[in-house]
């Protein structure tokens, strides 16, 4: 048997695990073909391709948890591999708060716009996309463009001892372009899509170039409290770190500033945040989670009030609630974070700022203390100084040093338009409008 042959391989692993004494087993076979064009200084620096088949298995026996990959392809060797893994698991101490996996089978709802054959078969056609986007940016007057175009096609098959037998295929595309006029004048934008026709690479290039050209002759910033308008690129960065803090695993580990906050006010009245793995064309949208539990929209903050943590079956039972369909077999995690939009135009938001900044990107966000939410982050690319409702210049070399709860509580306006962001510095897809936050603490180096 070739284990890469979809269900048969996954089901065989689960059957063997059950027969050999496992209480729970999840086996997932994933086949993927990903391609990337990395471009640097207007040229393609490297074209890359990854062609992988992986079989991952999770098992519990007497609350002892083990996970592994299975590389064997014939039935006798698979059985031996499962047997030796269970023997190792049997030596470990039990995870006393482990409470099992989801019991299926489940009905799954198909999610529109998650697979496009045009993406799967793009091949060397990606060069035209990069070439076109770079040309557009150069026409706006920038000197250099760097970034990546990544596209991926995958198919996965899952079987569990909870009666799940499910499969899914998907495609995704990611385009990131940073345009530079010189070392200190830059703009950066990203675009994401599951469908070829919905990735507007030329618009991304033009917007990045526009930012770069406007970021002329930045001067050193000044320490103080400012009203900060966060571009979606910037606010998504902050919310991608916040996404982890919603995970029950992070809460239980002491890594979350949202511990003990359910039912409490954690943000401004106008701030609502939902995790939604079912959104059409969502970058991480999926029919089911790692246990095979159906994915659903989960409001996490509604009108400023904390609603729930993200759960898998085990953490949900420990918290006396239901799974939110966010397994992670150990740590529940978000699919697509969505910030509810407001009703303002960006220009009106800028006009409303008396003494502030328009920050278009963030970099290297780190927490002093995950439990309290104290953090700092570094604005990069264009940082516009705003005084009396007008952009008056550009800053550089500053740092935002504040607290994540303060940021959420001091949200004072949200734009009508929003966009999805995910890239090197934003590790969870976040769809967010422009967000205006009052009284943000800004520091600078000695």
């Amino acid at each position: 048997m070739d284990i890469s042959e979809s269900f048969r391989g996954a089901e065989f692993v689960v059957d063997q695990a059950k027969e050999l004494g496992a209480d729970d087993c999840v086996a997932t076979v994933t086949k993927s073909l990903a391609r990337q064009l990395k471009f640097v200084n207007n040229e393609i620096a490297t074209s890359k391709a990854w062609d992988f088949v992986n079989t991952n298995v999770f098992m519990s026996v007497g609350k002892r948890i083990i996970s592994s990959t299975i590389r064997e392809t014939d039935e006798a060797r698979i059985r031996e591999a499962v047997k030796s893994l269970l023997a190792v698991a049997g030596k470990m101490q039990p995870k006393k708060d482990y409470n099992g996996i989801a019991k299926g089978p489940f009905q799954y709802r198909e999610i529109p716009e998650t697979f496009d054959q045009k993406v799967a078969s793009l091949a060397e056609g990606g060069v035209d996309i990069v070439s076109s986007a770079v040309d557009k940016a150069l026409e706006k007057g920038v000197k250099r463009c760097s970034g990546v175009l990544l596209w991926n096609s995958s198919e996965s098959f899952k079987a569990t001892s909870g009666g799940v037998k499910a499969s899914e295929k998907g495609t995704d595309m990611q385009f990131s372009l940073r345009a530079l006029v010189d070392k200190e004048m830059s703009g950066h934008r990203v675009g994401l899509s599951r469908m070829m026709g919905k990735l507007d690479h030329n618009r991304i290039a033009l917007e990045a170039a526009d930012m770069a050209v406007k970021a002329s002759r930045p001067s050193d910033g000044k320490v103080g409290k400012y009203d900060v308008l966060f571009h979606p690129m910037a606010f998504a960065n902050l919310m991608s770190y916040t996404a982890n803090s919603f995970s029950a695993f992070y809460v239980d580990s002491g890594f979350s500033f949202l511990a003990d906050k359910i039912g409490k006010k954690v943000a401004s009245d106008m701030f609502s945040l939902t995790d939604d793995g079912t959104v059409p064309n969502g970058y991480w949208s999926t029919k089911y989670d790692e246990e095979g539990h159906p994915v659903r929209p989960t409001p996490l903050v509604k009108d400023g009030v904390m609603q729930t943590y993200l759960h898998n079956t085990s953490t949900a039972r420990n918290h006396k609630t239901e799974s939110t369909g966010n397994a992670g077999l150990i740590s529940p995690s978000a699919w697509n974070i969505d910030i509810r939009q407001g009703d303002m135009e960006v220009e009106d938001m800028i006009s409303s700022i008396k003494d502030g900044l328009y920050v278009t990107n963030l970099w290297y966000t780190r927490f002093t203390n995950y439990r309290t939410g104290d953090f700092s982050t570094i604005p990069r690319d264009a940082i516009f100084r705003v005084k009396d409702g007008k952009i008056t210049g550009n800053w550089k070399s500053i740092r935002i040093s504040d607290n994540m709860l303060n940021i959420m509580r001091n949200v004072s306006a949200l734009s009508r338009a929003k966009e999805q962001v995910y890239w090197w510095e934003t590790s969870v897809p976040v769809t967010t409008p422009h967000v205006l936050v009052k009284g943000v603490n800004v520091t600078k180096p000695q």
Binding site: S4, R35, Q36, V40, N41, E43, I44, T46, S47, K48, A49, W50, D51, F52, V53, N54, I66, S67, S68, T69, R71, L85, V88, K91, P94, K95, D97, A123, E124, G126, V127, R144, S146, V148, S176, L180, K183, H188, D252, S253, G254, F255, L329, W363, Y364, N369, Y370, T372, F375, S376, T377, I378, R380, S397, R399, W424, T443, K444, P445, Q446
Partner: protein, 474 residues
């Protein structure tokens, strides 16, 4: 996949096939990469994870353009099909080139090495590895209510490297690491601390870290910081930094900005660029007491290797020498761009990543002073022994480090704890203020992030205790 069972013929066939299809250069890494991890969250064992992976990573130069492919289903027909597709894409991408990419010349290398393990990791029972974490946890519990997340992790890489210039290298590298994150609470407030140790070698490395003793001292110290910690003194003070702080500083503001691929703009949209350029070579950036080296050849180090992933022999590089910018970290591509030879800094985490310019072990060289001598004569200052948060901008200029376990220094003596002193400084600002270096040296480990997709590569960083003048703390 042991050395004897590696299908070297497959790797050699890929090189040959690529050349037949027009590649002017081809290299292949055939590798088995096994990784395991044990997690203990507070008093609860989470998961024991055992990952096994075999695969192939290859790079080709065609018409002056470069391509990379990786595949883990090693059926020859599938691999050759992927080689053909990769070369087609490289040809298509070559039309955007303004000048062909070149590699600096390098003689073919033939060598085999195995990192020695006194106590082989595979011979230590997984149960004993988890028991070790419970022993660490027991020490942490000396301060009631302390939460912790402990991870013991190990990897074994067995790698065959070959290229179209005749290089053939085989290596076997076991690595082990320990990461911990502590949350100490008192009076409704908390402080957090994280640290990583790492080594190339066997189980004997774990014993050298002395974690069970040290972590107990740390939680007691953090409790004191919470209960008695004062604000950092105002005005210009002397700042004494521990080897841990010196390590993160030289990693962030010497190792990264001297990566030549950043300097040439290759990481502009991801890990960023550098404030340095070729014009900085030979120019003063700090006090002459400062010498920072990068050295993959330190035996037992977490970043150890004999040859890099382009087949170039590893050696010590003096990045800052006597306060002047002296050298950059190069692979064969950046070396060719600057008209020199590579100094062996090309690394990939495993077969599924392209090799790029990376650090290995970055450290400031020790000076002549004892710790007591560094303290002598400090009327008012702060000793930062460990840190929590840190960050640096993407040109490696503007950075900040927040002290975790820190103390006031008065008249040469360590006094009360200081809570969260903030050292926010520019890169030359840091090196200019170094006035004395200790004669000790220590290292900590990290997984340095760079590349697209992100590669977290094992590194060491360290140095001696050092003293800085005229520092304003936040």
């Amino acid at each position: 996949m042991e050395k004897g069972t590696m299908d070297r013929d497959l790797a050699d066939s890929v090189v040959k096939k690529a050349q037949e299809l027009g590649a002017s250069y081809a290299e292949v890494r055939l590798e088995s990469f096994d990784a395991s991890a044990f997690l203990l969250k507070n008093d609860t064992p989470e998961i024991s994870d055992f990952q096994k992976s075999n695969g192939l990573g290859a790079r080709f130069l065609v018409n002056g353009a470069m391509g990379f492919m990786s595949i883990n289903d090693l059926k020859k027909a599938l691999v050759m099909k992927r080689v053909e597709e990769t070369i087609r894409t490289i040809r298509a991408s070559a039309r955007m080139l303004k000048s062909p990419l070149k590699f600096a010349s390098e003689p073919p290398a033939k060598h085999e090495w195995v990192v020695r393990q006194k106590e082989k990791l595979q011979d230590v029972d997984p149960k004993d590895k988890m028991e070790y974490l419970f022993d660490v946890r027991k020490a942490i519990r000396e301060v009631d209510g302390t939460q912790s997340f402990l991870q013991l992790f190990e990897t074994m890489s067995r790698k065959y490297y070959t290229n179209s210039e005749g290089s053939m290298l085989f290596s076997e590298t076991p690595r082990i690491g320990l990461f911990y994150l502590l949350t100490v609470s008192a009076g409704g407030d908390s402080e957090q601390r994280m640290l990583e140790h790492g080594a190339s070698g066997g189980w004997e490395s774990v014993k050298k870290w002395n974690t069970i003793h040290n972590v107990g001292q740390e939680v007691r110290a953090l409790k004191a910081v919470l209960e008695k910690g004062k604000a950092a003194p105002k005005g210009d003070v002397k700042l004494v930094l521990s080897p841990e702080l010196v390590g993160i500083l030289v990693h962030e503001c010497c190792g990264h900005p001297t990566e030549a691929d950043r300097i040439m703009g290759r990481e502009a949209a991801q890990a960023g660029e550098s404030f340095l350029d070729r014009g900085w070579l030979g120019k003063r950036i700090g006090n002459e007491a400062v010498t920072v080296v990068e050295d993959p050849t330190v035996e037992g180090s977490y970043g150890f290797y004999h040859y890099d992933d382009e087949g170039v022999k590893a050696r010590r590089r003096f990045l800052i020498k006597d306060g002047k910018v002296n050298d950059f970290l190069h692979n064969r591509q950046t070396a060719a761009m600057m008209g020199i030879r590579s100094n062996g800094a090309a690394r990939a985490v495993n077969y599924s990543f392209e090799p790029i310019v990376r650090m290995a072990n970055t450290f400031m060289l020790p000076g002549k002073h004892s710790f007591e001598e560094l303290m002598e004569g400090v009327k008012k200052g702060v000793y930062m022994k460990s840190f929590t948060e840190w960050n640096i901008d993407d040109r490696r200029w503007n950075q900040r480090y927040v002290g975790c376990e820190s103390y006031l220094i008065e008249n040469g003596e360590i006094k009360a704890p200081v809570r969260r002193p903030v050292f926010e400084i520019t890169t030359p600002g840091f090196y200019e203020r170094v006035e004395a270096c200790g004669k000790d040296i220590q290292f900590v480990a990290g997984e340095c992030g760079k590349g697209e997709p992100m590669q977290g590569i094992p590194v060491w960083m360290g140095g001696p205790h050092i003293r800085l003048k005229d520092v304003r703390l936040g």
